[in-house]
Symmetry: C2
DNA sequence: CGACTTCTTGAATTAGGTCAATCCCTGTGG
DNA sequence: CCACAGGGATTGACCTAATTCAAGAAGTCG
């Protein structure tokens, strides 16, 4: 994919593997008319010429459920901005076992950590029909050289990623299945709330198996714990639709993420060493 | 700690909590004479004036075993470069449980992820007598504005951190205690090898409890698995001194970290979704 | 409508956790 | 120099939470 193909025809030239429907970026859907335009502002382009953003968005694409966005070892070509839908990213061990490292929803960026290594470090797959903007990595990088604010934003995003990963570790570490799942649901709820979706009622785009993998528990355990929550009237589920009836109690069960915020008042816990 | 105190007297003005012995950075031990000078080069200062590095290193300090470097919520004042010794960093949950998120050895940087939030996100404590350079965060940041290479290096370091964290997740996820510990030992071995220490014989500066916490298993399980490894002649231990007698077999048990590198040849494992 | 996938529940099994006792260094003070 | 204290490390016994295996229900898609 080179510059000359930006406005070229449709996707005949696409590699077979990625049969996502793509549109050239020069169509009527310029960034400033995009519904999630303001979600791209964290990219640090708010002050720049509005065509600047257009100039690095190579194309918009739609991935269907199960389609691959990228995999490890692949050359770092695009940064993905999720317009709608959701994506899971995961690492694969040699023996075939995998660890899901994150679920990504609309408004989030994907692939930034491939930046220095020049190739993706994990595999990413659409969980449902997902629309993305594909930002040309090379031009993005050029731009970053010129616009310090852009690099700064990347630092912020990556730093946030680190904190998020470390919270997941805390979750994976020494928590019971119940605590893990409660924490997971509360975390999701907060993410949705911050995007002005309902924090109490939403759609789980990932399977029970994915949730279990993410949390380090068996799929069956996820079902059983959800069943227990249901029995206790904490939640209501209908397949992948879920309603949280008692976030307070769920939060209390999880009570993890308060850690950083209340560290000062917390009494000394971690012995002398 | 303000500019005027760079060359001020000794540490009478130190907060009690941090009784580490400090030296002003204007002493004879300028950066260019420092034994780990080249380890600071990743900071992107190799081309710059050699006094540039000196100018942002506020002071060198020594922390004794168990002493605190920083904790969450504390203002982001310094980036720490470990000259010798080792440090653990960990998150604390509200209920007192903690999750160790990393062990850091000589030549590694600490605290960079606090950069955007302006405050540390985890707690860091010396595992043994540890000598560090404390780099003034504010001046470092100023400098980064001027020297793009510096910001770029930070991106690389943070990106590496993300990959490392995600590998730990893979380890924490669905691995048996044996696999976790084998992976841990092999990982340590590689880190030492990359620093020209013996990859087969080294000192574990962290306690069994810390290892267990890091890997999400009980201290007793660490002992039991180590005992099993010992019985199988895989390792020899004497308190915290350890020799790996059969790295090949240990690696085979762990076989995790090959994941990213061999993903291309690996057969499709992660179902359609 | 059938083939599939995902979800759910039950029963049996086990890895790893918890509790508790002991051992073994290391450092300290008489 | 030796005894003692204290913090790891180790080992054993028991127990529980979660896994595995298996079978069936409930959606979903071509």
């Amino acid at each position: 994919m080179n510059v000359s193909s930006i406005c070229a025809g449709r996707d005949q030239s696409e590699p077979l593997q990625r049969r996502a429907k793509t549109q050239p970026s020069c169509d009527a859907l310029a960034c400033r008319y995009c519904g999630i335009y303001k979600l791209c502002l964290p990219l640090g382009l708010e002050r720049a010429d509005s065509t600047l953003l257009d100039s690095i968005v190579r194309r918009k694409a739609v991935f269907k459920r199960g389609q691959l966005l990228f995999r490890p070892g692949q050359r770092f070509e695009y940064v993905y901005a999720i317009r709608s839908g959701s994506v899971k990213s995961y690492l694969c061990a040699e023996d075939g076992r995998t660890q899901i490292t994150g679920f990504h929803i609309a408004g989030e960026l994907l692939g930034l950590s491939a930046f220095p290594a020049r190739e993706y470090s994990c595999e990413a797959r659409a969980l449902e029909t997902t629309s993305v903007c594909m930002v040309d990595a090379a031009r993005f990088e050029e731009l970053a050289q010129e616009v310090p604010a852009l690099q700064y934003q990347m630092l912020i995003i990556m730093s946030r990623q680190i904190c998020q990963d470390e919270e997941l570790m805390l979750l994976l570490g020494k928590r019971s299945a119940e605590e893990k799942l409660a924490g997971y649901l509360v975390g999701l709820s907060r993410r949705y709330a911050s995007r002005n979706y309902s924090p109490t009622e939403f759609h789980l785009s990932m399977s029970r198996g994915d949730i279990g993998n993410y949390l380090g528990i068996a799929e069956e355990t996820v079902c059983r714990v959800l069943a227990r929550f249901r029995k206790d009237k904490l939640i209501t589920t209908q397949r992948r639709h879920i309603r949280l009836n008692d976030i307070k109690r769920l939060s209390a069960m999880a009570d993890i993420f308060a850690g950083a915020r209340t560290a000062q008042v917390r009494k000394a816990v971690a012995g002398p060493v």
